[in-house]
């Protein structure tokens, strides 16, 4: 009999991702925060401020990629921190570890799920931007934009695994991720056009990965030429991903925190 386990690692990761995706789709709260909320923000911000211009550039060119960055973070970081905390505290991760499934399959499957949700969410935002607000992503910039979405999604998944280690229980997960992300959204060029911020605030934002994801995605819409890749932004996200890997490797636990205290 052929099972995903007997077909090797890739089949097993796809198997895991398929069921993780199904669990995600059936979770109303996850659907709202991951898919609906960015769409609502896009419509509100672009609807109100989209036609205003800064240095001759309409703000809607910032909002479509900026809110796309928010969608990637919601699908990767926020989605993972909350779902991993729930799975860990409910003893589900522990039960899965009592089976032969390798740890990297569980991590890989959930990460693949998050990247898929990020991609779908960003595509929906791009389509709404294109047909609702006439915001075009130039064809030459599509590969760079897609690459930035994938790198950003992986980075924020890794950071999700790392950050989940700081969350004590399920109730704390949602407020904690919002407390971290909301201020960063404001200073990283997602809600507010970056040139409108005082330089000291912009400099603080540049330390964190949110700004680099937003800036990397905005580049394709704003730069008159080129492939849409900003290597410095990808590099900054890679450094954050490396930090996330180190923290996760040192601190990640499959067992409930409540029981091991």
């Amino acid at each position: 009999m052929s099972t995903p386990a007997s077909q090797g690692g890739v089949a097993l990761v796809l198997h895991q991702a398929r069921f993780d995706l199904r669990g995600f789709i059936r979770n109303r709260q996850a659907r709202f925060f991951t898919l609906a909320l960015p769409l609502i923000f896009l419509v509100i911000f672009t609807g109100i401020f989209g036609k205003d211009t800064v240095d001759g550039v309409p703000l809607k060119l910032f909002y479509v990629p900026g809110i796309s960055a928010m969608a990637v973070i919601a699908a990767s970081f926020i989605n993972l921190v909350i779902s991993i905390t729930v799975l860990r505290e409910e003893g589900i991760l522990k039960r899965r570890r009592a089976t032969p499934v390798p740890a990297w399959v569980l991590i890989g499957g959930r990460t693949l799920m998050a990247i898929s949700v990020s991609a779908v969410s960003v595509i929906v935002l791009l389509l709404v931007g294109r047909f609702g607000f006439h915001v075009h992503l130039p064809a030459r910039a599509i590969p760079g934009f897609a690459l930035t979405v994938v790198v950003g999604s992986i980075t924020f998944c890794v950071l999700g695994y790392a950050f989940s280690t700081a969350i004590a229980n399920e109730d704390a997960a949602q407020p904690m991720v919002q407390a971290v992300m909301l201020p960063l959204y404001f200073i990283s060029g997602i809600f507010i056009q970056p040139n409108a911020l005082p330089s000291w605030l912009s400099n603080i934002a540049k330390v964190f990965p949110v700004q680099h994801l937003a800036h990397g995605l905005q580049h394709g819409f704003l730069a008159p030429t080129g492939h849409g890749i900003v290597w410095s932004d990808l590099g900054a996200m890679a450094i954050w991903a490396a930090i996330g890997v180190v923290v996760a490797l040192r601190r990640f636990s499959w067992l409930p925190k409540a029981a091991t205290g």
């Binding site: 097993l12 069921f19 059936r26 522990k94 089976t99 067992l255």
Partner: protein, 304 residues
Amino acid sequence: MSDPVVSVRGLRKTYGQFEAVAGIDLEIERGEIFAFLGPNGAGKTTTVEILEGFRSRTSGEVTVLGIDPARGDAAWRNRVGAVLQESNAEPGLTVRESLQLYSGYYLEPRDIDETISLVGLDEKADTLAPQLSGGQRRRLDVALALIGDPELIFLDEPTTGFDPSARRTAWHVIEGLRQLGKTVFLTTHYMDEAEELSDRIAVIAGGQIVAEGTPGTLGGRNRMASTIRFTLPDGTGADDLPPGLRALVAGDDGRVVTLTTDTPLPHVGALAEWALGRGLDLPDLDVRRPTLEDVYLELTEEPA
């Protein structure tokens, strides 16, 4: 002569000064249903988690299916199933989908529908797992532990917090594991559960095994005296009993008399003869051997 499925020698686990498991030996044979009985905090779950490979040990030798669980790999996990004490349903998945997910983890899983039937969840197969009742969820846990067709299954307090009918159903499912020839390592703090299900019981208290045996012989239960208890009819006293019975009186509060004896039958006969001879009845006459609960409470009693 096959090797034992579980073999434990001199197992110790300490947390700082506290000794949770203080040097225990266990041996479990293939096909046995073994009950590990003890009060909360006695070291049951610590021991099971060491055997499941979740916890490290301080010292001692442990093999489970011939492998040290601290180094248990995927091949070993293919042969072991675990129902953990606290593990919730897979969110967003139905009973059947949960089993499909877990079945994919194994090289030679059992049939999914057959496993659902085995735990009696046929009618709930397409219900979202988190919507099941507590008892049904526990049966899903057993199904998830069983789906890989393991040789050995750990059941850590499988019926804690259940109402009597849910416990009966769970017991029925565990009995079914015996029919499948599985070796079962059951922890519980219910004596009736251990008595009903297991071939052999070990009692742990304060990190040490204080008794081991079959449900019938545990703690010398088979050699312990029986008690004969009855209420004296009005107008009679314990002094009116024939001398042979008077010598056995262990308790007498003026109404209820308790006799203890290793040979209850002749004394019940003598008591009946005495009562019938006087035209009396003893409607609440009760003859009993110590229950497993009596033995257990004696064994696990905290020193005052």
